[in-house]
Symmetry: C2
Subunit: 359 residues, 2 copies
């Protein structure tokens, strides 16, 4: 087992990384007092629920299990309200700990529950998808969706620990593994050219789930993300760079009703579009934009956007959380591994990229 | 105008106190950038909406007005979702400021919107009821209700400023003014015996809305509350003392469906019950408990609880946010002005107090 640390002063927390961690009571024990609510979905709960429950009970917790439906549509008021009903029914107080077992959807939802139940309770992230292990479980972003936009309602609420058991990736459906690779590629493209080159060299091993490669990809992603989060917890500056590809990606998810496209798939297309937009803006050599498109493709991810009108794109992108003064801001690449936030991107360039992508 | 400060480091903020403040652009200007959402209810909006809008516009803001229904039932998912719709429709970004104009309900709801819209935006409290000016607008508690309990879903999210215009109390309905006095009495009873004695001497002036008396009551309440909040922002310790009377009070509100009883009225009864429980526990002289009941009565507030069964009381109190390890904790008085949190209160004593109150 390795442990990284997200350096956030009084809210600092560890990320434990290794195989077989979900069974270790000692990893939960420092963070549970009396009772715990284990929130997971109907797919993950049968696979790992009993093991996590057993470890939590060995750590001294009385456990309430709450299952939610699988899929992005779960990140909605309706589910939230069901979870609150269950927590209150079980009379769980402010001294309980929420344990989020699953992927990004479960983590975002359960994290938002933790942020708002009785004005905030502790929560542990136990990510079981690659996407959650490399990205969404770290950094305290929690949210639900709104029909007008992804993650529009949420809170910054840091977990007290992240327990990343890479052995749980063994049961991850192929498509979800690939979706997770989109965020790994994003980390390389946005922040670390050497890591991007490593990914080009090891993408086949990652797709084949070779554990050593996966562990390296998870560790390096967490290191990159933890450093940025420590620097800018609430995304007033550098943290926005982790949004590379997400302005386009969120629009795709919203346009298709949250579900048909996995988040990672939408981000994959978003990365390709953001890279091409960077090239059109004269910031990134075309060859580098194509390296990104090629790596996305080799990871088995889509590189083409669904057919949306320009109007739909602009409508959906205009609610992006990075927008300021009513203008959409894009994260662009000023070279591989060098993401920057840009406010003044010409709409004409965006249209050119979108038109080309739709062909 | 006087200004107090809530000392919370990087989240410190001023409380401006005086008559005619809502018209002063200079009080809003430091906290608005570009756009503002003015959230109020259908009663307060016609009275003060135009004036606040004008001041905000003079401070440089583009203003979106959002009206919500009056009354405690507004603190619910449904309203929240309506407000989010309006904010997204207006394409308001993370750089906007929410302005909560109204009483505790508007402040709690709009504050929770601010805490969760796009993971948190700035908000200004402009309280127009006595209850909001002396209590709910200060300290960053935001929430909505759940059928099983008051304020069960919420967040700690501090305002960037509180603008308390005591002239707005002129239009406050009699019943609401009296409800606000319950929290003023609470501050004296819980924290400051001298202030309690001052209230005994000036309660008639307060009920008659004499401005000098009101200003003193608001200022002293804010001072007492600001000091506690600065010490314990997230209610892990002393801040719970401000909950004197609220365990019983919240149960009354939940039992009656949030609405028939104003929050302050329920707290008034709660104060009387908490004082009597303190006496039965041998902590408070009976004479002091009766001073509290008498002052509550002189303020025109109820001192008797609605008829609930023991079972109902215990059910409703068991979800109290102060409970720990499944046990309800009460704030009791160990003398006038000396509130303390007690975990081990015998249920028998609670029953005796409730039985006596029901007669």
């Amino acid at each position: 087992m390795e442990s990284l640390r997200v350096a956030l002063g009084s809210r600092a927390y560890p990320i434990h990384l290794g195989a077989g961690l979900i069974d270790q009571p000692g990893l939960y024990a420092p963070h549970v007092r009396g009772s715990a609510a284990l929130i997971s979905n109907e797919v993950v709960l049968p696979l790992y629920g009993a093991r996590v429950r057993k470890a939590l009970e060995a750590a001294g917790a009385r456990v309430t299990e709450i299952g939610v439906p699988d899929g992005e549509a779960t990140k909605a008021w309706r589910t939230l309200d069901l979870v609150f009903d269950r927590l209150l029914e079980a009379r769980l107080g402010r001294d309980m700990t929420i344990v989020a077992l699953g992927g990004g959807v479960v983590g975002d939802l359960a994290g938002f529950v933790a942020a708002t139940y009785q004005r905030g309770v502790a929560f542990i992230q136990v990510p079981t998808t690659l996407l959650a292990q490399v990205d969404s479980s770290v950094g305290g972003k929690t949210a639900i969706n709104h029909p007008r936009g992804k993650n529009m309602i949420g809170a910054f609420h840091q977990p007290v620990a992240v327990i990343s058991d890479v052995a749980t990736l063994d049961t991850l459906p192929e498509r979800e593994l690939r979706a997770g690779l989109a965020e790994v590629i994003k980390h390389g493209a946005a922040l670390d050219a050497a890591f991007f080159a490593w990914l080009e060299a090891h993408i086949d091993e990652l797709v084949a789930r070779e554990r050593a490669a996966l562990v390296h990809a998870v560790r390096r992603s967490c290191e990159l993300k933890a450093a940025i989060v420590a620097e800018d917890e609430r995304e007033s500056g550098r943290r926005a760079l982790l949004n590379l590809g997400h302005t386009f990606g969120h629009a795709i998810e919203a346009a298709t009703g949250f579900g048909p496209w996995l988040h990672g798939e939408a981000v994959a297309v978003g990365l390709v579009l953001a890279a091409r937009l960077s090239s059109r803006a004269g910031l990134l050599p075309v060859a580098d934009a194509e390296r990104i498109a090629r790596l996305v493709d080799r990871a088995g991810l889509p590189t083409r956007a669904p057919a949306l009108s320009r109007h739909e794109w602009h409508e959906l992108m205009s609610v992006d959380k990075k927008s300021a003064g009513g203008r959409v801001r894009f994260v662009l690449l000023e070279g591989m591994g060098r993401a920057q936030l840009h406010a003044g991107v010409e709409p004409r360039l965006v249209d050119e990229v979108l038109d080309a992508a739709a062909q």
